[in-house]
Subunit: 340 residues, 2 copies
């Protein structure tokens, strides 16, 4: 059983995945990804994944058979497991609990396409539909407090050796430290200004224009003012809303369109870079308390995309400062001018 | 002039190094390090670095000439600069200030040796002497609040393409977010228990023994309970002290010895892995206030060593949770058994 362990100084939780235990000889330093064999995520290979949890598929096709457009399956190496109780406990001065949660893979296409940038807009709409469906389902589990949706693309960004477009959803039994920090920061701003900090960012970026990459009807893409990474991009809905999964079906096509455009611009401008793609949305909540009390007013869902062009080194680990060699104004200009 | 920018949501500061501005074509994705030319850090090449700030050298040898054992020079590409004022200001909802600070390179040996593991113990004592000297000097600058000493070894860990053992010291005009988090965590524990959390960790690890790697007279090396990385190692002095630079000269040889032993064990067990090596010590402080008021009681300097065997991916960026596939008990056992 994997364990969650809490650092007694900073309060950060760590998943200790005991079942994946690696010893020195298991690590290969600086090895390139191996060539691929049969892709378990392609249509026709449905028996190579665990049985599907959810799929968007043609009517009259059968579960775990071809005929699907988007397919959600459990991770074959889950970091957290659905079965069991949290069993929160102490061990001397330390705290730990069992690794309860969910770890799902959203296979974004039945074709062997690697990058979401290369999917049709219509296909990305279906991927969004699948996210919304899974978020809605997962928050019914009272043991779970948060669900993170993210994508790792490319070896440096932590993707495995299978080049088939997919996202991961991990639902956790505690609210992660970085999520709390973001919520508390947003709350502090709201308490002082009585306005949402993200709404203020959107307003200032639209007026200023220097860091604006795309501005369409309901959404903008910007290079954030304090970008941690070169060519970091945030996508934000203009209308205030803390929960991603409440996105109306009429807005999903716009979101798919801006995602496709941003990802194609990054692919074109930066020669198909590795990236991480992370959805920031509000935690599950019943009842509202503490820092979640005013969350509907103070938080604003958005997507953060981080191309992995630089290496995070000792200074970042030691300070939490990031070193970014590309001003966001330069990145935004370059991405605005990239034709796709 | 580089800028420090503060993320308005989380409060994290970012250095925007405008003078290093990189454009898309400047990035090479997944390239191996180039072969080396002439090493600017070797004896005889002193004119290939900026003039030295400090050196431990044989008497009657001249500055910027051979004859030194350890040499401190300014970084040729400084992230922060010594000259000027902070000029802290707003820009709409955003905050920024100029990138004032210091960025120094501690060249650890006149010979072309890459890894501190391969230096003689006596040489490492001199490196420690140089750290202490620079920390003592830097804290006289009232604009500076913190100095971080760290080492990046190997390409994946963010080292450049010159394989010559060196450390970096970066002094910053604000207390970094991760440092504050650590101090606040330690303070909270102290307020509740009236004991130092690190002293309690040392006590429990010495009694338990599972995560203990080395236990010598004045210091221990452990795999921390909530290790973020496989084979992460912390070195702690048993005697409580918040300031690294107050280390007595009688203890420097012990520290050099344990550093050498830990680094050799990692090198041997993990096939010379890339790593980050970070000193965690108390911030500069006059006068004491806020979370620094009780720092002498509640903080405890130590060194954190993180081999870079796994890649940090979307999940870590989104949550602040880390994924560590090697339980620290397994890592500690393996390192205890590694003969060096």
């Amino acid at each position: 059983m994997p364990e969650l362990r809490k650092d007694p100084v900073i309060g950060r939780w760590v998943i200790i995945a005991t079942e994946r235990a690696k010893r020195p000889e298991d690590f290969k330093v600086d090895k390139e990804p191996a060539t691929e064999g049969i892709c378990p995520f392609c249509k026709g290979n449905e028996d190579r994944t665990p049985p599907e949890i959810f799929a968007i598929r043609k009517s009259e096709t059968k579960q775990n058979q071809p005929g699907w457009d988007v397919r959600v399956v459990p991770s074959i190496k889950p970091l957290l497991k659905v079965e069991g109780e949290l069993n929160r406990r102490g061990k001397g001065i330390y705290d730990l609990m069992d690794g309860i949660g969910a770890h799902e893979i959203v296979v974004e296409t039945p074709e062997h396409i690697a990058n979401i940038a290369d999917l049709e807009e219509e296909q990305i709409v279906k991927v969004i539909d699948a996210y919304v469906h899974r978020f809605t389902e997962l928050q019914k589990d009272v043991r779970l407090k948060y669900a993170l949706m993210f994508k790792n693309y490319g070896h440096t960004a932590g993707a495995g050796h299978i080049n088939h477009a997919r996202s991961q959803i991990i639902a956790t039994p505690v609210n992660p430290k970085r999520v709390k920090e973001e919520l508390r920061g947003a709350k502090r701003y709201y308490e002082y200004k009585e306005r949402c900090v993200f709404c203020d960012i959107i307003k200032q970026e639209m007026e200023d224009g220097q860091r604006l990459i795309i501005d369409i009807d309901g959404l903008i893409a910007i290079a954030p003012f304090a970008s941690r990474f070169p060519f970091e991009v945030w996508i934000l809905p203009k209308e205030h809303c803390c929960d991603f999964f409440k996105i109306g079906s009429e807005h999903r096509r716009d979101l798919a369109g801006i995602i496709k455009k941003v990802m194609l611009k990054l692919k074109t401008a930066l020669n198909d870079p590795p990236y991480n793609f992370v959805l920031h949305t509000a935690p599950f909540r019943t009842p509202k308390k503490g820092y979640l009390k005013t969350i509907e007013e103070d938080f604003h869902w958005h997507i953060e995309i981080m191309p992995r062009l630089t290496r995070v080194a000792g200074f970042e680990w030691g300070t939490g400062f990031y070193i970014n060699p590309t001003p966001p104004e330069v990145a935004a200009k370059s991405l605005r001018e990239t034709k796709v």
